[in-house]
Point group: C4
Chain length 377, copies 4
Amino acid sequence: MNMSVARAVNVDEVRELARRRLPRPVFDLVEGGAEDEITMRGNLDAFRRHRLLPRAFADVASRDSGTTVLGTKLRAPILLAPTGAARVLHRDAELAVARAARASGLGYVHGTVSGHTPEQVAAVDPFWFQLYASGDRPRLLETLKRIADVGFRALVVTVDVPVFGNRERDRRNRLTIPLSFSPVAILRCATRPRWTAEFIRGNLPQRAQPDGRVSPFGTQRQILSSLYPVTADDLAFIRDHWQGPLLVKGILHPADCETAIERGANGIIVSNHGGRQLDRAPAALDALPVIVSAAAGRAEVLLDGGVRRGTDILTALALGARAVLVGRPYLYGLAAGGQEGVERVLEILVTEFDRAMALTGFASTEQIDGTCLMPVQ
Amino acid sequence: MNMSVARAVNVDEVRELARRRLPRPVFDLVEGGAEDEITMRGNLDAFRRHRLLPRAFADVASRDSGTTVLGTKLRAPILLAPTGAARVLHRDAELAVARAARASGLGYVHGTVSGHTPEQVAAVDPFWFQLYASGDRPRLLETLKRIADVGFRALVVTVDVPVFGNRERDRRNRLTIPLSFSPVAILRCATRPRWTAEFIRGNLPQRAQPDGRVSPFGTQRQILSSLYPVTADDLAFIRDHWQGPLLVKGILHPADCETAIERGANGIIVSNHGGRQLDRAPAALDALPVIVSAAAGRAEVLLDGGVRRGTDILTALALGARAVLVGRPYLYGLAAGGQEGVERVLEILVTEFDRAMALTGFASTEQIDGTCLMPVQ
Amino acid sequence: MNMSVARAVNVDEVRELARRRLPRPVFDLVEGGAEDEITMRGNLDAFRRHRLLPRAFADVASRDSGTTVLGTKLRAPILLAPTGAARVLHRDAELAVARAARASGLGYVHGTVSGHTPEQVAAVDPFWFQLYASGDRPRLLETLKRIADVGFRALVVTVDVPVFGNRERDRRNRLTIPLSFSPVAILRCATRPRWTAEFIRGNLPQRAQPDGRVSPFGTQRQILSSLYPVTADDLAFIRDHWQGPLLVKGILHPADCETAIERGANGIIVSNHGGRQLDRAPAALDALPVIVSAAAGRAEVLLDGGVRRGTDILTALALGARAVLVGRPYLYGLAAGGQEGVERVLEILVTEFDRAMALTGFASTEQIDGTCLMPVQ
Amino acid sequence: MNMSVARAVNVDEVRELARRRLPRPVFDLVEGGAEDEITMRGNLDAFRRHRLLPRAFADVASRDSGTTVLGTKLRAPILLAPTGAARVLHRDAELAVARAARASGLGYVHGTVSGHTPEQVAAVDPFWFQLYASGDRPRLLETLKRIADVGFRALVVTVDVPVFGNRERDRRNRLTIPLSFSPVAILRCATRPRWTAEFIRGNLPQRAQPDGRVSPFGTQRQILSSLYPVTADDLAFIRDHWQGPLLVKGILHPADCETAIERGANGIIVSNHGGRQLDRAPAALDALPVIVSAAAGRAEVLLDGGVRRGTDILTALALGARAVLVGRPYLYGLAAGGQEGVERVLEILVTEFDRAMALTGFASTEQIDGTCLMPVQ
């Protein structure tokens, strides 16, 4: 199989390209989940427990896969999730991701843990910003002001990291978070000299920058060391000091959905953090219908976790999601081919989603509903 | 295991013979389904979720496995489905298939995409004709007239290809549809020189034929490039201009069954196109009972997809199908041994079906009903 | 692992000994089922879908595993099923089996297809006789008289072979039934010279016997060529001409149970012929409760198929069986060690059953009921 | 992977360390279950059929994983189950286990079958004592008095060994219980000379002790040879002669739970003896809810069997258990690293349990209930 990114026929092939290019500890950093990775695998398997009913006689000669999420128009109901790993995959890191998202007509949710500043990413596209809220109110206010000043359109507050998940692959590889490489890890990375050379070239200058806030690793350490359980009051405080749309990421229980909406959330992102927090958490897709029902139209519900196919996206929308977030898929693309790799992944997903719409008889995303679903027998 | 077709004890063994004889890209062309092939495999697995109850004390000393499908008598409730691949499997292509069907007392549904003209196949047996309807009404009328003039007894309109399915095996093998071989594909085929020699010998003269309509590849390209979503109006138009029995192939949703019957269909073929269109579509067998119920006796319901055993046929009839269509099984036979290979496959299926009838206590196909079924525990 | 029969800790180990000692075609003859062997494996798997509840505080210091089946006392609720393969496994064939059964306090159901005459086996123990009934009434009467004269206590009529099952292993091995060895099969047997030498020594003299009826292969051919669907009238005719208890073997459908009891059967053997007749038939254990319910106490119900453990026997009794029949297990023993091997297998089963009774709190077989059952979650 | 105990990231890795260090027959002695080990594996799998719902917005910044079990305070709801195998794993045997439990703030249930006397273990921590009750009342009284005099706080009566389970690994390895090594077993142990040397050094002096009661193997033989079915009267007798809390271990049936409580049990340990008694018994976790319901608050219910993760402990508590017992996990630790190994295993479990509490939004064990549970779909 020719494995160049341009020839990859699906996300799995891009993943394979990434696996070959990355040192094992780095691939594990992207791929791994918590403990036995039951939830991580469960995210993917959940989609396979649904069957989609093809339709005949539908007028799908022309189709519109576009949608609007909290007021923002997108070419397809796909967002790029915040992840902290871009820096170690490619030297352009979040910039490449943001550029690819913009070029594809989709949106990238830039995250707190990042190799680039909010200002740098917003210069490409000030889409949405993901926040690991701190209990330190003055610092929180400062951050909110900075994000608003930069122009991000919506704020995503992550609420599923009261403590850090038990990611055993990283512990076995002796990676510590915030990212630092032990001698053992470095030795293991040496099997991929091309990656190693690029990583050194890409990161050394950055570390040398005078402004501490721009140094990604410094920022990561600060943020992670202040991880704490976001409370309902924290969310209300944020709502009071943020003008734009507000989303909460990491909801699986309907009571938490209620709390978030009561405190003013406009969007709910159903997510188990890619299976990286609580192993044994339900698959994101399995939790989706209950949250959609709890939201009852008061907030848009998005799904994050396990999307690898256009049919996955269609399934999520049929179950009530407004759009989906993808994380690992675009990281595979980034590792395999930088911005071009991310664009290839997004193109695959958009094409597959469009084809799935045609075959299930939907001419526009607005038409998608549960009538196309059938449980596996 | 002696692997000659005559000694093959079941369809799987014939499949194995075909696999050994064909270059991998050609075998993949026959075998492959869309994307992850969940639906393709699901078609087969669905049969294994049913148990058949043996009966004692039944008078099955003599049995009649014959039936009548839309007025046509058959030695057993088995039809040969339209497929486009015969040309690359054997130089006699659809002629060998039609001859084998006739010799076996069964019916071959000749397809639009073919290596032989309708006239050539009808000279063997003008059974049924499968149509990829075009939106171009004058051309459609011309085709209907030609099919009627040639004498085909029934018309099967395929409605599940509004767009082409994502068959990743072919993309990986760099096969393009309509069939053309890239240098990479040709190289891969070189591992089976016997097949290659015969393919060249069989296809070169054909290409040189003066009449463009007879050239199979030319015709394929025209047809496929005009693929479009057949509408209910199209079906009504066809009904108005076709005198004989009319079937619709590719129905999985009861509402589409209703539409087809309302527009005058006499037969419904429950099919997911062998798992080659929408991956995640339900297994054909799993969709069967709902369609039988929707048809409510107003149309005969046939099942297409996953039949490999006589017990599969019995299961389909017990769930309400009038007959089944087989596709890949006879293509395996064709690849493994031409007309003789197809006949061997049909003989296996008829013999197995007859034995299954005896053991479940049915002396004739008319008696078969759901009393013999028991779900897997 | 020391693999002598005496050291074997369970039936699976005896099976492994048999597999090593027998030529592949002969092992396949014993082991194989029909077609895809779904039913054959299903017989075993069905037991694993039940959980048995251990009990505390039960007075099981002394236990009685004995029972009475249709008036015959047994040391445990285990019978040895009729099978036709003993002759090719060991030169003492059915005589070794009958002796082992008697030595173990259990009963052997001697079958029509056999390497020894009813008289020879009855000389060891005239337990029960299994009949492939013929449609030829005078010959049937003659057989019934002979069986009665010899002294067999009960008659078992097999009703699940209206036609012969599709045993593909034998077809692949070119074995024909009644047993004869093609050159190919003989070649394959040559890999086990010890078995081959003994087989020749054991069978040549037999063939030379002047009395045709004693020749086992001759008798087999006659019987098998007259296989036909036993009718309810046939059963009534047998009932009229047989004084002792009458059992029907091969019932899976409640209506057939009713028919059998109405025609005078005293016992019903739930069986799918070891998965050797209709593939896709339900597991014998899965059919048991329905038949027990249909029999409603008017006939004793026995289970045949899939028993490999003492816990299997307990499960069958908990679901309403009076006793179980074992086939392959004792054939493994016979192949591995003649009479001693059969005794070892029976000892394993009786010991396991006794232990299972103790752990589930039953001091006698009469106490066993459904309270100890719990479905797998 | 560096496999030192200190670096092990989870119980499975400690298990792997133990497997490498122990001769196969000794590892099998710890690891093996009865017969096909369905119940043994079922204990583990049962936990994986539950999903735990993460919670957001919970105030889990500080958490208390401590609890009280029958009046005894513990740092976490974890007890160390009685097992008979410590002696062959490490020369400090039960003393190392008791010390590790105490150092970890947890409790060790010292067992009748042991390499150390009750007095020796009580000198470390007189936690609870597990009794294989004898039918010999005077001897039973003597034992109860001795246990009370030594100061053990609670008594655990095991009721699931009316006869000894069929542990086939030990039979294949020619180990006999009470532990003695056949020449074959000794030969197999020679592959691990380090273990062998330590075992000889640790056990020879012990055997030479003048006081027969202190010799562990002598005591084991006596106890095991007197195994018998504990009756309800026996339990009542024990209740009459034991002042402290009384628990019954080995309950799976609600009626037995009732009997135990009626006879005065204060605690019920749901257990199938680690899958070592009746194969096909339900998983301990699957039996838990029924027993919790039967106990109806009249006795504390503990779960024994299959716990390998902190999420397992949380699941058991969510289903109504007061605490869990672990057996094999600490034996792995003992084999891999003596007292330090046991402490490492306990630290892993406590840490994982604390993290699971945080992620499911519980700040104290008292809060844990079924609201966090969701069945696997």
